[in-house]
């Protein structure tokens, strides 16, 4: 529990870009594939947003290790840390 709590506290938000053309045929819908990819690196991480038009992918909170692990999964184009923008 302590390890999991530590991992959660280290988590940052990432935007995960997926290559939809690489989706295994076993998935009926891309959201299931996204979910499965995320579950493969973290039991507790949840999808914040699923993006359908602006990108193919989703956002989530991950530890740096989880982010690295996810980036190495098939069908993942990039795992980019969230950026903060400001009004001009």
């Amino acid at each position: 529990a302590a390890a999991e709590a530590k991992q959660k506290s280290e988590r940052a938000t990432y935007i995960v870009h997926m290559d939809k053309s690489e989706m295994p045929t076993s998935f009926e819908h891309h959201t299931h594939w996204y979910d499965s990819s995320l579950k493969s690196v973290s039991d507790s991480a949840r999808i914040i947003y699923t993006y359908n038009n602006a990108i193919h992918g989703f956002s989530t909170r991950l530890s740096p290790q989880e982010a690295d692990s996810l980036a190495a999964q098939p069908g993942i184009l990039s795992v980019l840390p969230e950026l903060r923008y400001e009004l001009h």
Binding site: A12, T13, I15, H17, D19, K20, S21, I48, Y49, Y51, N52, N53, A54, I55, H56, S59, R61, L77, S78, L80, E82, L83, R84, Y85, E86, L87, H88
Partner: protein
Amino acid sequence: TTRTPEFLGLGQNADLIPESDSASDVVIGVLDTGAWPESKSFDDSGLGPVPDSWKGACETGTNFTSSSCNKKLIGARYFYNGYEATLGPIDTSKESKSPRDDDGHGTHTSTTAAGSVVERASLFDYAEGNARGMATRARVAAYKVCWIGGCFSTDILAAIDKAIEDGVNVMSMSLGGGTSDFYRDSVAIGAFAAMEKGILISCSAGNAGPSSYSLSNVAPWITTVGAGTLDRDFPAYASIGNGQNYSGVSLYRGSELPGKLLPLIYAANASNSTNGNLCMMGTLTPDKVRGKIVLCDRGVNPRVQKGAVVKAAGGAGMVLSNTAANGEELVADAHLLPATSVGQNSGDAIKKYISTESDPTVTILFEGTKVGVKPSPVVAAFSSRGPNSITPNILKPDLIAPGVNILAGWSGAVGPTGLATDPRRVEFNIISGTSMSCPHVSGLAALLKGAHPDWSPAAIRSALMTTAYVQYKDGQNLLDIATGKESTPFDHGAGHVDPVKALNPGLVYDLTADDYLSFLCALNYTAQQINSVARRKFDCDASKKYSVNDLNYPSFAVNIETSRIGSGSGGFTVVKHTRTLTNVAAKGDYMVSITTMSPAVKISVEPQMLSFSEVNEKKSYTVTFTVSSMPSDENSFGRLEWSDGKHIVASPIAISWS
């Protein structure tokens, strides 16, 4: 806004601007701090039903119901999941968990773009007039992505995602982050998808000027907007004890100063802090400032906060002095106490007076609103500048538009200074930034979209750029307030927007999504990086030679790496750019003309004449730049114009040696 419609020629040329159904079918999505739906600028009188193509929604939440929307504000959504994931739950005692704008910025930008006409609008009687957005018949959809803690890329991307689905035609984003490659930049990536759907994306260039390489939002599929001044000012003179008057500006309205000179003190002499000159919170010694007018230096903390600090310490008024960072640029504020902002030269003179006079005194004379100020526009000092640090061969900003002392709608939740201690509430506020110039262009793009529904985003941007002006009516070149000298394409891009001319540009430089993909190939993006931006596999053709220079952009930037020429004085580089023009007018024979400012650059165009006989006909030409070696950090500028005698299709040229 007041004054900008007249300044842009929209008031005098109302009959040229389409008020047809197609104009009211245009939807501008504004990603910002939300909207204050009770603003009179969102009055929907005279507007027909919401366009059939609209698939958006009016989301409910704190103090915001589905009836908050109408036929002007047709959509309102809010995106907070990314914000809460990082910063924890939104404190609803401080901000509305809904599309409601508690900040004012989003109401200001959205009403600038497409606000309805409101008669006799003003801020404390300053800038009074009929306020209107640039596209009065266009519809607004507000996407709240910015909160007290900032604007998070996950939320921005979610809003872009939804805005595309909802069916906006123009997307206005007055925000930015640091500069990063396009495949890492959520705004650039989201904008690419929007562009592919025919949506024009207008973004602010940033307020990091006058430093070079200070631009945000430089992707070539984004229209990047810098800021210029209007011909309007709000003079408030600092009249000092030796009889000298120094020009300043102010939007102060309230209790007047006594009709006599008051003691004047420099903040640095009224503080124990090393940065006491800046009037930061808690740095002024009340015993030293009580009853006096305090001179504070601009910088670090917000200008209006300096006034609040002086007031809290018992000061009677404030003179706010620019430093070298701002030069002579004067930005007016609705201060909480009698105050005026003066340029660096005046500030230095007043400081000298303070240091040499045993009992320095001053008063402030408020003169209200003055119009017809010349020269105008001038490039705002704060407006971010090129060169483009990501792709130096794409000239940015694209153009400038009004962004200084702009009056537009405001939130009822906050005072005009935005300070928590400001109890005043106003329907309109006057603020400055490239945030304000961006929605001007968004609204003008909506006007063009209404007039030419079949034009692509690139064609609309081209029309706005190639008709922009770089000279005042007397023939003198536009000035940069940061230097007092002529501005350059790195400051003003193609120039200042001229919407009336943009309606009929003659020729346009069009672009498709595939052109941008070739551009990414030219940047040597990997397949993965291209896929991240374009959401699909795209294989660059190994046998094809891609060149950034061939992106059909309405401007020219040539970046010469001096190390590649060699250190010898006789070296030169030949760079070719190819462009294709599309005819959007009647037939015409266009001749080219070129102006250059440096003998180090020779420019030739082939062919020198292009004849168009029908609409949508395309003709290509090649520009050859023969560039001599120069020391690094040198720049040279020019202009290429095609004209058939009726239209002038102009492109800026920027040559830089790095």
